[in-house]
């Protein structure tokens, strides 16, 4: 005899307790959770029903008129490429780069491969390709904008200018207007490394871009005289060296606000023009100089040109004649009223040596 035949049913367990509870007995948070769960369930059911209905409609259409489903897919050659870009790349370039075979079907296009073809040009940052039925291919490009130039020696020994974007990418530059390119300063103090058919991205370009962008937007006349930006001391000292047409060396610190440094530079140039008795600035170091009573910016003045008939004191370069000095640039709230020209600003300039200024 099997003993299991005489086993009485197990006693009631806590699991037999009905866990459902009336919403009235719930707390506010509980009711909120219940409402959220209900909405979620309704949403899932709605999505499932819509999918089923859509599937059924598609199936019905396929059964009744299969041609109407297949029609847009087949026999629809690409008639037009619609381009949308934020840069100078134009429709002709896109057509040449994509090189679609004549009469190719829209559904036969390998959009991934075509996208790769566009991205092979470093000027293109992102490319989105989409089929627009019945016969259009939509191409949306986002391009890299140049912030500086760099001169590189080609394999054949020729010198060639390339453009550098904010993210450090180096590219030849297609369809950019010449007047825009000519305003860009050159990069200095870097080593270009070849990578594939192009160059490896240049590190630190975001900082350079910030400086150049701030200068272009706020002090366009100063920016227009800039010829090159050197990244030589960027990683070691955190400074950027700018060579301008009128000042051989301007040092910008990357730890301070560029706008503030440009304002100081502007003030120094203005004061020098007014009070320097024809002397010119040889170098300005904006990366140092914060003190308790203002900002002390080390500047070096170049000696005035020696007349051709006067014997030169020595054959040393101009830098040897340069003299260091400190030009305090006061905070805007403390700025002194402008003195009439010709009056010596001895109250504003504290010189390290016995300069006549």
């Amino acid at each position: 005899m099997n003993p299991s035949a005489h086993i009485s049913p197990p006693a009631r367990s806590w699991r037999d307790i009905h866990q459902d509870i009336a919403p009235r007995a719930m707390s506010g948070e509980g009711r909120k959770r219940l409402a959220f769960a209900t909405l979620k369930t309704i949403g899932i059911i709605a999505i499932a029903c819509t999918s089923l209905w859509g599937g059924y409609e598609l199936f019905r259409l396929w059964k009744s008129d299969p041609v109407s489903i297949k029609a847009p897919v087949k026999n629809s050659p690409v008639r037009e490429i619609v381009l949308q870009s934020d840069g100078p790349l134009d429709h002709t370039w896109v057509v040449q780069t994509l090189a679609l075979p004549r009469g190719v079907d829209l559904m036969e296009l390998d959009l991934y491969a075509l996208r790769e073809r566009l991205l092979a040009t470093p000027q293109v940052r992102t490319a989105v390709l989409a089929r627009k039925f019945p016969d259009k291919l939509a191409v949306t490009l986002e391009e890299r904008m140049p912030v500086a130039r760099v001169r590189a020696t080609e394999r054949d020994g020729q010198l060639r200018d390339y453009l550098v974007a904010r993210d450090g990418f180096v590219f030849p530059g297609i369809n950019f207007p010449a007047d825009r390119i000519e305003t860009l300063p050159y990069l200095d103090g870097i080593t270009l490394k070849r990578a594939g058919s192009g160059f490896a991205p240049i590190a630190g370009m975001e900082t350079v871009s910030d400086l150049l962008g701030t200068a272009r937007a706020n002090t366009a006349d100063i920016y227009a005289r800039w010829r090159s930006v050197s990244l030589e001391r960027l990683s070691a000292d955190g400074v950027l060296l700018v060579r301008a047409a009128d000042i051989p060396e301007i040092t910008f610190g990357t730890r301070d606000d560029f706008l503030k440094q440009l304002a100081q530079l502007d003030l120094i140039i203005d004061r020098t023009r007014l009070h320097a008795d024809g002397r010119t600035l040889a170098s300005v170091d904006l990366s140092v100089g914060l003190s308790a009573n203002g900002v002390l910016v080390p500047v070096v003045y170049a000696q005035p040109e020696i007349a051709a008939d006067q014997p030169a004191a020595s054959a040393s370069p101009a830098r040897r004649n340069a003299r260091p000095g400190f030009a305090p640039v006061f905070q805007p709230a403390r700025s002194q009223p402008t003195r009439p020209s010709g009056q010596r600003p001895s109250a504003f300039f504290h010189l390290a040596d016995s300069s006549p200024l």
Partner: protein, 402 residues
Amino acid sequence: MTAKTRYIGAVEIGTSKVTVLVGELSNGRSLSIIGYGECQSRGVIKGAVVDFRAASDATHSALLSAEQSAGVRIDEVFLAQTGGHLEGFYNEASVSVSAANNMVSGMDIDTVCRLAKSKNLPEGRMVVHNIRRPFHLDGRLVPDPEHLVGQRLDVGYWTVHGQENKIADNIHVIRGFNVPVAELILASLASGTMVTSAEDRQNGVLVIDIGAGTTDFVLYRDGCAYLTGVLPVGGSHLTNDLSLGLRLTEGQAEKLKHRFGRATVATKDKAEKVWLNGDFAIGDRQFPKQAIEQIASVRIWEIFEVVKKKLGPAFTIDRVAAGVVVTGGTAKLPGIAEAAAKVFDATSRVGELPGYINENLRDPGYATGLGLLYFGLNSKAETAAPARRRSGGFFSKLFANA
């Protein structure tokens, strides 16, 4: 949240506080404690809900706080169950091994287990736990008898049952937050698992969890829970005794208990007095330190005596080699291990949580919450693991009566 990640809430609705821990269970195998919430308890006396609205507000506040600290929503709750209504009894059954070669089969094991668990309960009572004791095959203790050869298979179950209404109230408090209760676990089992090692449980150990309103205890033997029980007396009774004995408000008595309470009398000088507040302001009074210690120690002593009486002959020093472990919020009372050692005449210690537990949670008061998460991990791990033996397959049912 990945598909195999679940967030478990371990909830202990105590008499003095509601504690919620949130565990992130990944793939049913690893668990991380990611959130914690605590709230002063209201509407709960001696572990039973007496004011549904107040208890719900306190519990939901703790749940919400835990969810906010974890930044996730709890999927299910493991709830600790305690209260004076919980009782236990032992029932055992035996079957003759059915196979001709006397090899124990899965069906024999299922039959003997079902027989041992099939005992009717009085009206209004429900099973909370069926705790199986080790199998005996022809009198020898075996952890798993399947495929062993023998003639007679015995097994016993310690069944813990409680009042249906009180259990339902606890569950409904959680359901009011719209979270399902996945497991109901005896508080003593949860805390006992955390403060003892597998070796302790194998050698035999008694764990006493003294909370504010109740004292839960569990006696382990041969690696499993042998006997459990709940006393409707806890740390709040110490406060009450001090309040009556020294004519203090409950708050003042609670303060004195924490500052000067001891489970054993250490002060020899009857004249030594302590200040109530120590700020010498109006209302600040002096009390004899020895009297405070005496009141506290007498109550603690009484709790241990009652536990010992409840255990009866099940507690013998030779069967409890690992001694007595005291845990719970009241275990922080100085000298409590010493008191337990004197009452039980066995080695005693205050339960310590494993070293891998975060330092902020390594307090005896959190032993139950952590134990609930441990149970959660184990139960989910069993679910995640492939079934070793399927009970009652189609063919076994078909030929069961043949």
